[in-house]
């Protein structure tokens, strides 16, 4: 579940991550509920904690690499780290309303 109390910059990052798509479902990873945590330290680093909808996901590396590239472009010079977690396990309940609409289209 996405952490609460995001700072203004972290909300910006969340919006930015909506450009990262799951290529199989064709829905962005934020609306799929895959992003759990966003930590931004001014002039220093961005740290993302993400999960995948299933273990062994064949597109997992691509998604994580995509997050890194997007953040590197938006925050050049900052330390970017993307951490993969399986805790808590992702469930379909984590999909946002927008995500649900996109999937059902």
């Amino acid at each position: 579940m996405l952490q609460e109390n995001l700072s203004a910059e972290e909300v910006k990052i969340l919006e930015l991550l909506k450009s990262v798509m799951d290529p199989e479902v064709a829905v962005n990873i934020v609306d799929l509920g895959l992003i759990y945590e966003i930590h931004f330290e001014e002039n220093k680093k961005v740290h993302i904690v993400t999960t995948l909808s299933t273990r062994g996901c064949p597109l997992g590396d691509v998604i994580m690499q995509n997050i890194e590239v997007v953040l590197q472009n938006a925050y050049p010079g900052l330390e970017i780290s993307v951490e993969l977690t399986w805790e808590p396990e992702w469930t379909p309940e984590m999909i946002t309303e927008d995500g649900r609409r996109a999937i059902e289209l």
Partner: protein, 429 residues
């Protein structure tokens, strides 16, 4: 690498793609053979042309694609790297050569000594042994010791038994040394292959992939366990009965165990489809849904043909052939046609675009093939299948020939998409 990721574990596309290419072409050619061999479809099952066609379908088409897909999917389902890519490539050449020799030799088989069948048989045994080594070595590394992987590993044991028995049957035609009828042995061979190898493998892979594709969680895995034990117990008992005591009552009882096991799996599939978040089925999943419906119909037919031989009388042999057609050209073929679209585009997409993701605009994997062509061959496939069954039921070579032409069209459309994907050139390349 972080645990649970599989992209970096994926084998090189050059290892996997030949399997898809060979399989697609074999499917097309089997349509042509069906056209030529149409009159043989209504005779006995031990006709050389029917044996030739069946082996082209089960080995050249179904097993070929399963081998390729499995090499690709081992990292997904077992979360480990394939033990040896080189072995996988060698297996392809052995397998391809073995299949061609075997199919050719069956066509001209006179139920006496056939060097071709012997050579083909040896090549196939070698192939399957190397395939098994690759799979078992990979499986030993996995920490995911779940029921899905149990299905996969067990299916490979049955594959070995199927091929060895097939080879012994070839030898037995020359110098009879097995004190059993060829027909009972053929049934044993077919059941080990269809249920032990194909079906168990499909259950193992599908129960892992379907929830991924449909986006559905927390499925009753217990159903899979029931399915696993019932099918295995039923199949082992059935195999022993075919050999030692092939009486109809015993065979029926053991078949019912298998049937119960398959029904538990179908219940699992039904729940997955019902609870899915992703309501719209893409072409891959439409083919898969059709496949499960065809499996259910073939089971009903199987039960009717076993339980009421008196009613169906002269249709017995035809119904048994239809039963085989529904399983091979129905269930497995539909599933593979569909799952091609759920695997092949991703293999190529990762190869061409993995390094470009986020840096430039990339197409979606589903944009690598023509959806229109896929939908078209969904309908031609279904029409061909219905006509083929009608043709067999009414013993009409003409109707079977028309069905074969429609299958050839399906094969051409399918090949168009397969090679469109395989030969895809990256944008900005």
């Amino acid at each position: 690498m972080q645990a649970g990721l599989s992209t970096l574990n994926a084998p090189a596309p050059r290892v996997v793609l030949p399997y898809y290419g060979f399989g697609a072409i074999a499917f097309l050619i089997s349509g042509i053979i069906l056209f030529i061999a149409a009159p043989d479809m209504i005779n006995h099952y031990l006709s050389p042309k029917l044996l030739s066609l069946t082996h082209l379908l089960v080995l050249g088409w179904i097993s070929m694609i399963i081998f390729g897909a499995l090499y690709q999917l081992i990292p997904v389902v077992m979360e480990v790297k394939l033990y040896s890519e080189r072995l996988a490539l060698i297996t392809f050449f052995l397998f391809g050569t073995g299949i061609l020799i075997l199919v050719w030799s069956f066509w001209f088989f006179k139920f006496q000594r056939s060097i071709g069948l012997e050579i083909g048989g040896v090549l196939l045994i070698l192939t399957v042994m190397l395939f098994a080594v690759n799979m078992f070595k990979s499986a030993l590394k996995t920490e995911r010791r779940n029921i899905e992987n149990g299905f996969i590993v067990t299916s490979i044991v049955y594959l070995m038994l199927t091929v060895i028995l097939g080879f012994l049957m070839v030898l037995n035609f020359m110098v009879p040394f097995i004190p059993r009828s060829h027909l009972d042995l053929l049934k044993l061979h077919a059941h080990l292959g269809m249920i032990g190898w194909f079906l168990l493998l499909v259950i193992g892979v599908a129960s892992k992939l379907m929830p991924m594709f449909l986006i559905v969680h927390k499925l009753p895995v217990k159903l899979l366990s029931y399915s696993f034990y019932l099918i295995n117990a039923g199949l082992i008992l059935l195999a022993l009965a075919f050999y030692f005591y092939p009486k109809s009552l015993v065979l029926t009882a053991f078949s019912l165990l298998i049937l119960a096991g398959i029904l538990f799996f179908l219940r699992f599939v039904f729940i997955a489809f019902k609870k899915r978040i992703r309501r719209k089925l893409d072409i891959g999943m439409r083919f898969s849904a059709l496949a499960f419906i065809l499996l259910f119909i073939s089971l009903l037919l199987g039960v009717v043909s076993v339980l009421s031989p008196g009613i169906i009388g002269k249709f017995q042999v035809r119904l048994e052939i239809i039963y085989g057609v529904l399983i091979i050209l129905g269930f497995f073929t539909s599933l593979i046609l569909g799952q091609t679209y759920k695997t092949l585009p991703f293999i190529i997409w990762l190869q061409k675009y993995q390094s470009k993701v986020g840096k430039e605009k990339t197409p979606l994997p589903m944009e690598l093939y023509s959806e229109k062509v896929a939908v078209l061959h969904f309908w031609t496939y279904l029409a061909g299948l219905i006509l083929l069954i009608t043709g067999i039921l009414f013993a009409s070579s003409l109707v079977i020939r028309i069905a074969a032409i429609i299958f050839i069209v399906t094969g051409l459309l399918y090949n168009y998409n397969v090679f469109k994907i395989i030969l895809h050139k990256a944008l900005h390349e």
